[in-house]
Amino acid sequence: MLSSLTLLSAVLKPVAEGDGGFEAPTINEFYPEVVAFGGTPYELNRIMLIRLLVTGLLILVFWLWSNRFRKSTETGQFVPGRFQMFGEMALNFVRKSIAHEQLGEKDGDRFLPLLTTIFFIVLGMNITGIIPGLNIAGTSVIGLPLILALAAYVTFIYAGVKKHGIGFFKNSLFPAGVPAAFYILVTPIEFLSTFILRPVTLALRLMMNMIAGHLLLVLCFSATQYFFFNSEGIFKTFGAGTFTFGFVFTLFEMLVAFLQAYVFTLLTTVYIQLSLADEH
């Protein structure tokens, strides 16, 4: 067993360790050393620890909000305070702007648990990419994006089958209004796009965005480090430029973190909506 101190120091391990020469970041950034349970199927590295940390924080924050909602309902004090208002804003963003907008109130509320979970997991895990000390997104290794995409995949197929029965596959693979001869061409395309590309693109879009963002930031800041401390003369001033780039990209990553959460959730909703629709 490892002490909690070791776990903490592993989480907070700095990303760039300057040891003289400049090292460009590689894909190995996303395979940090194992810090616990090494060799077991549930071994932990700092990315897994970051995921657990984010999960804990999400539960803490939403637990507080949830209790606030419950208290408000029980006491009949319906004027929300600032804290509660913020929680409502966050939850209503998924509920109204995404779920109700695409699915209507009834179906929107039906699939809300999945959509809310996806949105806040992705947002929470993405944002760790720019939090000092964590510096890597929990969604930047394929596992989590894959699990989320799988959940979305299962859900939109479930929604279609529940509503149309076996007709869902017929509607999806043999779209109405197409001459029968074209099905030789159309059906494989529809199969590929609906049942293979949808989950794959969901997972890859998210992971690649986070990988690219992380590599860019590491590149900018490790270059800054190199220019400031390991280069001579005029090259030192280059560090200011790379630092500025790094700073701007950090802000950009903030936007990307939110945007990818929004896109992932919105696409999941749209896929469900397409499954529920009568005509494809």
Partner: protein, 178 residues
């Protein structure tokens, strides 16, 4: 999974191939949060929002009821005022009619009174005239008797003088008449 295989997988470092631990922890995290949002956060959130909507609607209904009551009261007051105005107008009209009636009656009465007074006066005058005629007649009779008697006496004494007496008498009458 042996450490050797583990090392080989890491050496490959293909970002598209999920490691077992990666999948397991991702699934655990997802499952925990899904259950948490599904059975804890969202029910509380929905209950709160529904209760609030209900409360707002309830209060709106109360406000509407109060407004309707106020409107009904206003309508009642206005109806009362209209009735009062109507009554006032009726009273004034009745009073005017009565006044007109009374004035007509008074005029009538005054006319009657005046006619009666004129009638009385006329009767009085007639009566006076009558009595004067009667008195005159009596006087004329007595005078005629006096004259007749003096004529008779003088006739008896002297015929000549009889015509003189009559003349004298008539002269006297004339004098008295003047």
């Amino acid at each position: 999974m042996t450490p050797v295989i583990h090392e080989i997988m890491h050496a490959a470092a293909n970002p598209l191939v999920p490691a077992t631990a990666d999948l397991i922890w991702s699934a655990v995290v997802f499952a925990i949060l899904l259950v948490f949002f599904w059975f804890k956060v969202l029910p509380n959130f929905k209950k709160n929002i529904d209760a609030r909507t209900e409360a707002i609607e309830g209060r709106l209904a109360l406000a509407e009821k109060a407004q309707a009551e106020a409107a009904a009261k206003t309508a009642n007051i206005e109806a009362d005022q209209a009735a009062a105005r109507q009554e006032r107008a009726e009273i004034i009209n009745a009073a005017r009619a009565e006044a007109a009636q009374v004035s007509v009656e008074i005029t009538e009465a005054a006319k009657l009174n005046a006619e009666r007074m004129i009638e009385t006066a006329k009767k009085q005058i007639e009566a006076d005239t009558q009595s004067a005629v009667i008195a005159l007649r009596a006087e004329v009779g007595s005078l005629a008797l006096e004259l007749a008697s003096s004529v008779v006496q003088n006739n008896l004494k002297e015929d000549k003088s009889a015509s003189a007496i009559v003349d004298g008498f008539l002269a006297d009458l004339e004098k008295e008449g003047k």
